[in-house]
Subunit: 353 residues, 2 copies
DNA sequence: GTGAAAGCGCTAACAA
DNA sequence: TTGTTAGCGCTTTCAC
């Protein structure tokens, strides 16, 4: 308790603790690491000395000396809310596996290459990249040096491991749900060239096809942001499907906002389904029906895979792990109104009374 | 270009490069650091060897050897969008000052204490804490060990440096703007115990007072999230001010959404001002009038202060740097409707036609 | 301009 | 159980 905080200046080292406890340096090391090879009495004394000096081990020196650093590098986008969920999960998983995480952010002024380079200098043993935009060839080059786990982006290359949500299955869930409610004219606002967008488009088409609705397919160009959704909403208002699946929750929020402002009731006149189950979707006043990615499972698998590669296990395993999403039904989906279900598009304006 | 990527396994070291170039290890070190003391010819040869081997310096060994690590630790909240802007700015500023950043995230499962502890082990020379919730006493303890710069939270303790937006001034700007437009009944949705909330409340009161509107003050309990705003909106609908200043943009978004859904036109029936100028506010379909924090300036000053403390400069300077915000006028504020400006509250429902 | 020797803080291997 | 010796990859004297 009486941690006598050392003045700013030279750090307290093992040698300081050793001197104070009257033992050798390696013995202190043994005690600090809880390694076998010291008597209970010594441990006691050493711990006390360390506490009194406010000693903190130097992870750099430790990693330098050990052959292993037990350090996993993580590249994430500082703007992307879902990456926040993933980073949280990664910490938990790494902790359980007794690994440390080194975070490196991608920002408007710092690209992925720089983010990766700094992690290489830090001597990370493996890299976990969240939704990277790097070309496959560079990912493969990296993977030649160290285990690389790509999260939330499909990569066709056997050198890297991939953990991602089954995006196509997610759209099947969404479309099936809407069809169950009685919808037949279901549009899709896509994500352009964003990671996962192609799979979601494909899932949408497949699902419509599966229900014999292929000729009703309508794909509206969208994107990742609320603004993209807002723009897409204007097209939706013209085309008037009774339901729409949207690339992600942010985009869906933009859709919702414009729809409502233009007098199109949701879900009365149009049902909307998002993707991600981000905090946006959960907001009580938004209450967006959405496809949830299992961030906890994805991150656990990503770390597990990194650890397996490092330990040399499972080297022949499947390279890609595709995690099924699940549907979270909230308040933006409902059965189509009787007069809309079959009839062609018409202009509708609901009084909210 | 022909970077012959070494197989996974032992890292390439200075010794490898030295052997390949046919020189000694220290000489390679000199070349890699661009330090004086090597002939042009040697530099050329060494660089070539390093490139061919794909050599990357080991930052841990380097920091261990140098007395200085030139490493600044940053604690940020992975959920908070504004922290993303700040982290971006910090990277830029650190880069310019030739410092590295070590990021440590606060997540639902990882508290500030842990985040700080890991940075201490990494031998950071200074700590920048974004909106920390740690008690002042702990901040002071930390500051006894190393320079601590707190961003976006006022701290009454001479041991730590603080860089923050002038929250009170921000509310003056907002209220002045609304008064200029002709509003007299201006409410405030507050941020509860969030960092900065008290100052914003105070600024709101002061500004009203300054305009002789103190008796019109109405503070509605709010919070940081959209949901908090949604809840507050219900109270606003009952009280019917003609304008409202809201703790932050997220909360303001919740307010906006509920107001509009309940048929209260913005800015027709009620003007709304946010705080932060987050990406939310900038969205074209939201177009929120808001008080902008100068993230670039805040982060530049935070890094500059950390560097100054480390270099021993300016040790006697002011401990707290308060940055003036500025108002960004968008589309959620306008003059009050003639019948609302003076008249007491009444129920209004606008047809959007 | 270049190389040899020492040491940052720590841990692994061995000896006592 | 404990101490001694060596060395991780790098930078810093200090000779040559």
């Amino acid at each position: 308790m009486t941690e006598e905080l050392p003045v700013r200046g030279r750090r307290t080292t093992l040698a300081d603790v050793a001197a104070r406890a009257g033992v050798s340096v390696p013995l202190v090391s043994i005690v600090m690491r809880d390694a076998p090879g010291a008597s209970a009495a010594t441990r006691e004394r050493v711990r006390k000395a360390a506490e009194e000096l406010g000693y903190r081990p130097d992870s750099r020196a430790r990693m330098l000396r050990r052959s292993r650093t037990r350090l996993i590098g993580v590249v994430f986008g500082v703007q992307h809310p879902f990456h926040g969920d993933l980073v949280s999960g990664l910490y938990t998983a790494a902790d359980a596996a007794d690994y440390e995480l080194a975070l490196s952010a991608v920002t408007p002024g710092r690209d992925e290459r720089r983010a990766v380079a700094s992690l290489l200098q830090d001597r990370c043993e493996a890299l976990i990249l969240l939704g990277p935009a790097l070309p496959t060839s560079e990912l493969a080059d990296l993977a030649a040096r160290m285990p690389v786990i790509v999260v939330a982006r499909p990569v066709r290359n056997r050198a890297v491991d991939v953990v991602r949500t089954d995006d196509a299955a997610g759209l099947h869930l969404a479309v099936d749900h809407l069809v169950d409610l009685g919808h037949t004219r279901i549009a899709h606002v896509d994500g352009g060239r964003a990671p996962g967008a192609a799979e979601r488009r494909r899932g949408y088409r497949e699902a419509l096809d599966h229900h014999g609705l292929a000729d009703q397919a309508l794909i509206v160009p969208g994107g990742l942001t609320e603004d993209d959704g807002a723009a897409a909403a204007r097209e939706l208002i013209a085309a008037r499907p009774t339901a729409v699946t949207v690339f992600n929750d942010r985009c869906a929020t933009g859709v919702l906002d414009v729809l409502r402002r233009e007098g199109v009731a949701v879900p009365g006149d149009m049902s909307v389904v998002g993707f991600d189950d981000s905090s946006l979707a959960r907001l009580s006043h938004v209450a967006l029906t959405t496809v949830a990615q299992d961030a906890g499972r994805i991150t656990a698998l990503a770390v597990a895979r990194a650890v397996a590669r490092l330990d040399g296990d499972a080297a022949a395993d499947e390279r890609e792990q595709v995690i099924p999403p699940h549907l979270v039904v909230r308040s933006t989906t409902a059965a189509p109104r009787a007069d809309l279900a079959a009839a062609p598009a018409r202009r509708v304006r609901t009084s909210s009374a």
